[in-house]
């Protein structure tokens, strides 16, 4: 716990609802001032983890500490209102009977600075003109901003964000996300965001923890998590993945795309491997222009404007199609003959060869 003097330290956290275990030994350290994301599928226990940090639920076992002070262990449970941990829920949970200003100022003591603090926060979240509105007169994005301002008003040490962008429509989500990120970063608080959206986690956070089956499967920077996931399942969870069979050759691997450099470490020669090829590493070239590579046919193309995802099937080898990400201006019609090659080093795991 000494590693995170002002941050959050969670160790061996267990929580069951009835006979159903939700958290089974969660360990997580978030350094002071970090923006951390807890990424998990629905039902992985991420909201339960957040509710325990906020003090709404009490863990069955384990320790929660902030800045070296224990909030929860077998003997102690600090009630929510004394934790100074802000919480922004998915719905915003604004007080329907109070105005925007009333909501933001709810946790503040009445005093000279009260109105000024509220005005400052509303300006910070870009809602300066809406102080006298009621929650039902606001759009979803505005409600989220008010909820954030309300949480920040009491100067929390930690801000918990529980899928705050999930209920917003796609167009709004990007702008609210960016605003929230800049606002909470300026506040200096440690932030923990839970989300099921890997895009959101990778783009917003500087530390991502993947929660799987009630335990942390991997923690790392977004880059690390994307490039060197701990196992093939995680690789698929944090992005699209082509998993290709290979054989180790020391620091390289022999594959059907030729010899590929391994990103990390060595395996003993002859060790069977699974290598991870991200779609953007798979280069697709029209057959007419290519020199060497694996011959394949385009199965289908999903066009996204800035880029396109092409599904290709190699003419030899395993029949499962591969995914490649190409720039949007490149056109690949279904059925077109192409040649595939892999760029850059790849991540690998030893593969057990079944009998």
């Amino acid at each position: 716990m000494s590693a995170t003097p002002g941050g959050v330290a969670v160790s061996d956290l267990h929580k069951s609802f009835g006979s159903h275990p939700v958290l089974r030994g969660v360990d997580l350290q978030v350094p002071e001032g970090a923006f951390a994301a807890v990424l998990g599928a629905s039902g992985s226990g991420k909201t339960t983890l957040l509710r325990i940090l906020a003090g709404f639920e009490r863990p069955d076992r384990g320790v929660v500490a902030v800045g070296g002070v224990t909030l929860d262990d077998d003997h102690h449970h600090l009630p929510t209102e004394r934790r100074r941990i802000g919480y922004v829920s998915q719905e915003g949970s604004l007080f329907p009977h109070l105005t925007v200003a009333g909501n933001v100022g709810f946790g503040l003591r009445r005093g000279r600075s009260h109105d000024a603090v509220v005005a400052h926060l509303l300006e910070l979240v870009g809602l300066a003109g809406l102080a006298r509105r009621y929650p039902h007169q606001l759009s979803g994005g505005q409600q989220q901003r008010v909820a954030l301002a309300r949480a920040l008003a009491v100067r929390p040490r930690i801000v918990l964000l529980d899928e705050p962008f999930a209920s917003l429509d796609a167009g709004l989500r990007a702008s609210v996300r960016a605003d929230v990120q800049s606002v909470v970063r300026r506040s200096g608080a440690t932030v923990i965001l839970v989300t099921h959206d890997q895009d959101e986690a990778l783009s917003l956070a500087d530390l991502v923890a993947v929660l799987r089956d009630g335990a942390i499967a991997q923690v790392g920077s977004p880059r690390d998590l994307y490039d060197t996931p701990r196992d093939p399942e995680l690789a698929g969870f944090v992005g699209e993945a082509n998993l290709i069979e290979a054989t180790s050759d020391g620091s390289t691997a022999e594959t059907r795309f030729g010899r590929l450099a391994l990103r990390d470490g060595h395996h003993s020669a002859g060790q069977p491997l699974t290598v991870l090829v991200r779609p953007e590493q798979l280069r697709v070239t029209p057959a007419a222009e290519a020199a060497a590579g694996v011959a394949a046919r385009v199965v289908e193309t999903g066009f996204h404007g800035h880029d396109a995802v092409v599904r290709v099937a190699a003419e030899a080898g395993p029949p499962s199609p591969l995914l490649a990400r190409v720039l949007g201006e490149l056109r690949f019609e279904p059925g077109a003959r192409v040649v595939l090659s892999v760029e850059g080093p790849v991540h690998s795991w030893p593969r057990e060869v079944g009998g």
């Binding site: 003997h75 102690h76 009630p79 007080f95």
Partner: protein
């Protein structure tokens, strides 16, 4: 910025400041709710006790009389005819007001609902005082239909208002004509509401006493009243009560399977579009004439007859004093009962909303069994209990009357309290906790402001129902005390129409206006469309 709680003094790391865990299973709430359910079902238990005291043979002998068959025939045919009429009238008025471009529909919406507030015995008195034709079966059909059709109108109107207009558009795009759209889509969507309204109508008819007594139409309630109050034949009253409760249970139970089928599902709730109204065109005039006729019959006649008899009778000074006195007692008992019922409903509603579980749902449902117990039966069971087990101490005391009211109108209170508790979701309270408010502060600054208006509405609803209650009041009112309803009844029984009329008008006045306000309040609550009670 944390607000220092009482137990904040000790440093966390050293002390064992174990806070009370948030109970995972709400034992306290469950216990309280169970106690409430026991109180509510106690009249039924007393009734069964009473019956078993008289002996199964005696009870069976009483039930197997030709009289029972007559009563059954009278009660059932009236229930069927009036319920069918109310279903048609209530659905049509609701559709005209909510779905068409009827001129002046805001005014119509008010006028069509007001008859709901006029007690059935007042409507009955007004009609029978002006026409000798209005008596017996045809009189009962006329009076009850005019008095209770709003019980169908109100839920159907609420349901149509919140119905999804895109369904009608979809049906039109599939090439379905307007009449079939009305029958299959519009009425189909409101089916639950119509059914719920019909169940209420049938239950009201089974429980009604005063109106039938005035009209000289014999049903179970009038016979039970006579056996108990006039002949003091307790076993007979008890046996007939059992039959009546069974009938009510059948009606209440009949709704459950029908309700489960085809629940109306609404997709895309955020996109609330304004409903296109059907154009009446040339039909506008006849529709308005029909509505006018309905309002004249249901509202004009009772008020007009009251005013007529009052002017005719030349109100003596004595009446003015006794109106005040009776009004004071009505307010006293009704206020106390409303407070008790609201308080009793609180744990049941909290358990149902905050801790949903199969057991809790069963408990909540069981309290609705009260609906199957007519006020007369509850009053009899309670007075029997007071006489037999409390040594006659409690009989005809104010407490007993207040208790009977609270049990009788508990379902009404529960509807209001449940809706108001749902207004204060747990996540909003948690948000307040995370902002540094203590549990007490949360209760004061968040929970109470949110549920307060709903609690007040529930209180008013029960208050009004008690103020216009006649049957149980006649049985349980303390000796020598008159309420508005009992004083009206006494004058009416002596054919002193001129003296009864002011009481009728006062009852109409105190019931009509607040009832309208309350109806609007409950219409605006979300998630209330098509619910019963």
């Amino acid at each position: 910025m944390t607000s220092g709680g009482a137990s904040a003094a000790r440093p966390l790391v050293s002390g064992r400041s174990v806070q009370a865990r948030r109970a995972r299973r709400p034992w306290l709430l469950a216990g309280l709710s169970l106690a409430v359910a026991a109180v509510l079902l106690s009249p039924l238990a007393f009734l069964l006790l009473e019956a078993s005291g008289a002996g199964v043979g005696t009870i069976a002998h009483i039930i197997w009389r030709p009289l029972t068959a007559t009563l059954l025939w009278n009660t059932v045919r009236l229930t069927v005819v009036v319920t069918a009429l109310c279903a048609v009238i209530g659905t049509l008025t609701a559709w005209c007001v909510e779905c068409t471009d009827l001129p002046g529909r805001r005014l119509w919406a008010v006028l069509v609902v007001i008859p709901f507030a006029i007690p059935d015995f007042v409507v009955s008195f007004a009609w029978s005082s002006i026409s000798t034709w209005v008596q017996g079966f045809q009189g009962a059909v006329l009076v009850m239909t005019l008095a209770v059709y709003p019980l169908v109108h109100l839920p159907v109107a609420a349901s149509l208002r919140s119905a999804d207009p895109s369904l009608e558009d979809a049906a039109r795009s599939l090439g379905v004509g307007p009449v079939r759209i009305f029958l299959r889509v519009t009425v189909g969507q409101a089916r639950g509401a119509i059914l719920g309204g019909c169940v209420l109508v049938a239950l009201v008819i089974l429980a009604e006493y005063g109106a039938f007594e005035i009209l000289g139409y014999q049903t179970f309630t009038t016979e039970i009243f006579t056996e108990f109050q006039v002949s003091f034949n307790v076993p007979s009253a008890c046996a007939l009560s059992l039959v009546l409760v069974v009938l009510s249970c059948l009606i209440l139970g009949g709704e459950v399977p029908a309700r489960g089928r085809g629940r109306v599902q609404r997709t895309g709730q955020l996109a609330q579009r304004t409903r296109r109204r059907h154009r009446l065109g040339r039909a506008a005039l006849p529709v308005q004439a029909a509505l006018l006729a309905l309002v004249v019959l249901a509202l004009g006649v009772p008020v007009g007859a009251g005013v007529y008899w009052m002017l005719e009778g030349g109100v003596p000074m004595l009446t003015g004093v006794s109106v005040l006195d009776a009004g004071w007692h009505t307010a006293l008992y009704s206020g106390a009962a409303a407070a008790v019922a609201t308080l009793l409903a609180l744990p049941v509603a909290l358990l149902a909303v905050r801790h949903p579980s199969p057991g809790g749902r069963l408990l909540e449902r069981s309290t609705y069994l009260v609906l199957a117990m007519p006020g007369l039966v509850i009053a009899l069971a309670i007075s029997y209990f007071a006489e037999r087990y409390a040594g006659g101490l409690g009989y005809q005391t104010s407490a007993l009357l207040v208790g009977a009211y609270a049990i009788l109108f508990f379902p009404l209170a529960l509807v209001g309290v449940r809706a108001s508790v749902a207004h204060a979701p747990a996540d909003v309270e948690e948000a307040a906790r995370s902002l540094g408010r203590s549990p007490g502060g949360v209760l004061w600054r968040v929970t109470l402001p949110l549920i307060g208006p709903g609690l007040a509405a529930a209180f008013c609803l029960v208050f009004l129902a008690c103020a216009t209650e006649l049957t149980a009041t006649l049985v349980l009112v303390p000796t020598g005390v008159q309420t508005l309803a009992t004083q009206f009844w006494a004058y009416q029984q002596n054919l002193a129409y001129g003296q009864a009329a002011p009481f009728a008008l006062v009852i109409i006045a105190i019931a009509a206006v607040p009832s309208y306000v309350l109806a609007r309040y409950f219409d605006r609550l979300p998630g209330r469309s098509g619910a019963t009670v």
